[in-house]
Subunit: 708 residues, 2 copies
């Protein structure tokens, strides 16, 4: 199996079709009690009007919940394509074989007691996986809550999240690695009137993984946007493919990935089998593919809610219509946090608002004041002016006016008149009222929120997706030709020369075997030089007198001789391979640029300003490798210390483009052989006004001891 | 009037008693229609059982809403202590005079059309303020929504926020500078079952300010915690006094201050008369007094909700009980964000949990798994183990189990058995259900939340208040004696000598009038010296050859002579006052320390690491002056770059205590004459392993041009 972060062979997405949309479903362990684990899926499917055929299997009953039951899988008279197993663990392997014999191509296993427990569990999980592989069955679970597909009424799940009712119609897909939290999410989504069409709980992920399910939804005609609750990633290639497919299909993906904290990561590791990759690497992956990470459950649902109701905006310009000056200020604050702008209305539009309503504030926010309660035509004129100003989004604050049977309809009429009946851009109605009130506004295509801050945050997310989907796709940088990463450590000079072959500029340095060669090298360079001892045994060259700066060519021979003597005296055991002679570097800004092999996310780049900026201020960006020069430039310019590159404090700007190019080259080297190294580090990468030089480099070869 | 940030003379808090708790209330402009502005207050008071007497005034009616009406204020047969004015602006001054004649000591003026509009408005507001002052009436408004006091049924407000019902009983006070947003808040608080006992909308704040109302509530026996929606501060002394009183009374204060953003500040300024102080200064004030700033409405309400239901915790140790591993991970993440710790359970307690429930995770989070649905005694044993472990707070996640009429009661019984019936510490029940379900848990003293992240964030706020209320009160540093801030700019040396008198160490420098004196000074110092030209005309000394470093005493005379010649050649117009000679400073870390006069918050300190850390990385702390040495030390240690002070990157630690002492001295100087300067800046304050030295100082005298 390739070591690309996948822990299983890739399978085509079509193989998930019998899982999500089967025609003939056997329920092994079917119960007549619609409250029991083996009874709920049948009750749910009947209520949802499952469009295929159900075959409850139960040796003790003729019928189950009104459906003819069968004594065994074998007894089912037709082929099945799907099996639900709600039976004790010990019986699962044989039941799976029986279903395979009947034609099943997919199975959901509710049963716990597999890899998540000790003892026989892991071996039993291996066994059912082997059965599934042998017979070409895709397996969801074990130890999962199953899935539902509201489009077909397929409901092989015992989640209580659809006990009260199926979700309202909609086109949201939810993928969860936690059954219980996935149910919590479903309940919260229902209260928020979010139309969840497909929901899947992946449990132990013996076979089918959460990333595969995201990929299925990204490809599904039934799904427009995807929410994910995730604890760990076992399947990087599937995740990247799924996120990329969603981006290309313009489907927003919002991910809540838990285990950010130390204790959280430990707790996650203890109850999933996932490797702990770095959290920053996970962020980098989402960023690369335009997905959003939500920090809280409500944030995720807010964004899904907004994206389900609204078109995406054309830009980040927000118009604000409010009946409360205070709410306008609050919204302006929230907009800044969300990266939205509130440009003022054109003068003519302001004049129009004020002509109709002299007490209004007309700039933006447009505060019509509570006085309009006496004359709703002022709401219409203000709305019309805002619409004419062409904002990309509108936020309207009318507090509890919407809840009043008298005021609500007047407000609605006035707003729609101002909009000419056409809610063609993201429009958040920030208001109060019961579900029916809120729904009446949602039916117009407006989002409703009670908390202004949450409304604006969700609109910021819409703007993010609009930009991510419009972004021009950049071809990754080409892999360097004829450069192979070493299996063993390299000396500094060898490491730098390897980088040079990959396209990273390095100083013109010579390895001199003695003082005479050092002098010759300095004479050839014709400038003041750096002189360094070269030894595999001396990690701290300065301490043994092994570094001298600013040596004039004329003095090089003496300096070199002295250095050899001094080092020999200070470190008599050290093997001396020679002396490194190179030109003194000019003034500039030092970067630290590294590539690391993240065990989960693959090769990632760490990019920061050198010294205290990285070590003390933690001003380091993490991005997936490879990066194009443009992506590297954006990353550099996103550092807090970026002004230092552009001539802060009276210094000359340095050649940031050259730095970005060098970073891109290093990233291409890392990406070309993602499993061929542990880390590649340039520290420092000196950026001067004239270019860039890798002044020191360290290549840590791949440690393969962890791969038996 | 002293220039201390107050825009009005201070009045005693007792003067607000007739505003919040009057006995005899006249309603001028009373309406028989309970929906109208002049009718609502009467309807509300009647429903709330106002315990005083209502005197509706209306010349056209015998009775109003069943209460005897009076044709004029004069006709009221007894003295009144409170008047509500719901009449057009032009009539307000005379009505106020009439009420004064009848004994009114407080009035609420709903009417708009005063300072918030142009034209006659501001003059009219001045007029009513003059009437109020003349007659000793405290005035709320104009242009406000009034107030209510549920304790007495006093409801002079037309907010729709109590239209459906009065709030549930409780001890929360709300102060709002926005009537409309204050109503929105009330509605949200009602849905959250928060017991708002007093609510006040301050409108134009012609007289009574929001800070005064906070102070009233801080002193009130009826109120235990206070929420504030604020747009601007006109009354710093009242704000500080109120926050300090609340802290001493152990009453949590949560403030939502809007206008953080540029557009928001502009919008706030356009509809309030408040000065825009720096947002960081406002944060500093809240921090100093232990109040919390909420960024969103929900955050404010969450914290009020939690603090209303829970005792404060003894520490930050959180125990987590969960039926979902995923929720446990999510809670652990949120706890890290909130600064709460999740120490593991003692081994014996873990063993006890596992003995009862082998499938559980017992460390912390304690994940009992959904398996306990079959045996709730496992919930009891886990709860009991957590209780025994003595955590300061508990978060329990049981998703929608609470909503089930079957499971809910079992869960409740099992939990209470584990707690031995005693919810004596903050306990968050993270669950789902309707209001009745939630209330049933709240009745046990538990907080309920649906979103785990919000629960944990609120618990972090509880821990904050516990710490703020327990913090030892430090005496402010003494004011420096015999030091007066100058009215005119000082030279660098004079500025430094002034700081030295205030207790800030400065180098041993001499102002030499010629080369000979410079040489003598260097000889006296006996070490290599700094030599600088002294001229009021040379801001950039280095550029004209006016700075030399590391001059040996023997070479000082020559160096000084050369400098005088060079500067004369480069800047022939500059007036030369002499030469500054001082010892070369040692190696250390440079700080920038400044005091600024914030127009709203008074003297504040800006404290940061020098150079790029301040200018590029914006690593600057803002705190109110004065700071004790301990407070200054805490501030320094809170800088992102603080590790540099403690010996990062192989350097020796510097004398942070000496730096803190110097900062405290500078802050005491600023606080002693808060209106005597615009800024005092030490840049750099050099901190070495042996002490601290102000290497340069600049005093910007108070610009009094803005004070006619």
């Amino acid at each position: 199996m390739p070591d690309d972060g996948a822990t299983r062979p890739a399978q085509p997405l079509e193989s998930l079709a019998p899982l999500f949309a089967p025609r003939a479903v056997a329920v092994i362990g079917a119960s007549a009690d619609p409250q029991r684990i083996g009874g709920r899926p049948i009750a749910y499917a009947l209520r949802a009007g499952f469009e295929g055929t159900l075959y409850p299997v139960n040796p003790n009953r003729e019928e189950i919940q009104g459906v003819k039951a069968w004594p065994s899988v074998e007894a089912i008279p037709e082929p099945i394509d799907f099996a639900l197993l709600a039976i004790p663990a010990a019986g699962v392997p044989q039941a799976l074989r029986d279903c395979a014999a009947k034609g099943a191509r997919a199975a959901v296993i509710f049963t716990a007691g597999f890899a998540e427990v000790g003892g026989e569990g892991p071996a039993l999980q291996e066994e059912i996986l082997a059965v599934a592989r042998e017979h070409g069955i895709r397996l969801l679970g074990p130890n999962c809550l199953g899935l539902f597909n509201a489009a077909t009424g397929h409901c092989p799940t015992f989640t209580s999240g659809i006990e009260a009712a199926m979700p309202v119609p909609g086109r949201v897909g939810l993928v969860t690695q936690s059954g219980a939290y996935g149910t919590h999410l479903l309940n919260m989504a229902r209260d928020r009137r979010i139309g969840v069409r497909q929901w899947v709980s992946t449990g132990n992920e013996a076979d089918v993984t959460a990333p595969e399910c995201i990929g299925w939804m990204a490809a599904s005609d039934e799904i427009d946007l995807i929410g994910v609750y995730m604890e760990g990633v076992n399947d990087r290639p599937a995740l990247f493919a799924a996120l990329e497919a969603a981006r290309k299909a313009r489907k927003p993906v919002v991910v809540m990935k838990v285990g950010r904290s130390a204790v959280g990561a430990e707790a996650a590791a203890s109850h999933t089998a996932s490797l702990a990759g770095s959290d920053a690497s996970f962020d980098a992956a989402l960023r690369r593919f335009g997905a959003l990470r939500a920090k809280t459950t409500e944030e995720m649902l807010d964004i899904l809610y907004a994206a389900a109701l609204s078109p995406l905006p054309k830009g980040r310009r927000l118009g604000v219509l409010t009946a409360s000056g205070g709410a306008g200020v609050l919204i302006a604050d929230a907009a800044e946090d969300a990266g939205l702008s509130l440009p003022p209305m054109p003068q003519a539009a302001q004049a129009a608002v004020l002509a109709a309503n002299p007490l209004a504030s007309a700039r933006n926010p447009v505060d019509v004041t509570a006085g309009v309660l006496n004359d709703f035509s002022k709401v219409t004129s203000a709305t019309s002016a805002l619409r004419g100003a062409g904002y990309d989004m509108t936020a309207a604050f009318f507090t509890s006016w919407t809840a009043s049977p008298v005021v609500g309809p007047k407000l609605r009429e006035a707003l729609l008149a101002g909009l000419e009946g056409d809610v063609d851009h993201p429009f958040a109605m920030i208001c109060q009222g019961d579900a029916e009130v809120m729904r009446s506004w949602e039916d117009l295509g407006m989002m409703t929120f009670e908390d202004p801050s949450r409304a604006i945050h969700a609109m910021g997310a819409l703007a993010h997706f609009a930009e991510a989907f419009e972004a021009v796709e950049e071809a990754p940088p080409p892999a360097p030709q004829g450069v192979a990463l070493p299996a063993e450590p390299l000396s500094e000079l060898a490491a730098k020369r390897l980088l040079a072959k990959a396209g990273v500029p390095i100083p013109d340095e010579t390895l001199a075997k003695d003082a005479q060669e050092a002098s010759d090298a300095a004479a050839r360079l014709g400038v003041n030089c750096v002189l360094k001892i070269v030894s595999p045994d001396l990690a701290h060259k300065t301490e043994v007198g092994g570094v001298r700066l600013n040596v004039p060519p004329m003095e090089m021979e003496t300096a070199a001789r002295e250095m050899l003597e001094t080092v020999a005296a200070n470190a008599p055991q050290a093997r001396i391979e020679g002396l490194l002679v190179g030109p003194m570097a000019g003034e500039g800004v030092e970067l630290i640029v590294g590539a690391r092999r993240d065990p989960v996310m693959g090769p990632v780049m760490l990019i920061g300003l050198g010294g205290v900026f990285t070590e003390v201020m933690k001003d380091v960006a993490v991005e997936l490798a490879p990066l194009t020069p443009a992506q590297a430039l954006k990353t550099l310019n996103g550092l807090r210390g970026a002004p230092l590159l552009h001539g802060a404090r009276g210094k000359a700007p340095v050649d940031v483009e050259a730095a970005a190019e060098a970073i891109s080259r290093l990233s291409a080297l890392a990406a070309a052989d993602p499993d061929g190294f542990e880390s590649l580090e340039i520290n420092p990468l000196l950026v001067t006004p004239d270019g860039v030089l890798a002044l020191d480099a360290l290549i840590e070869p791949r440690n393969r001891e962890d791969h038996a």
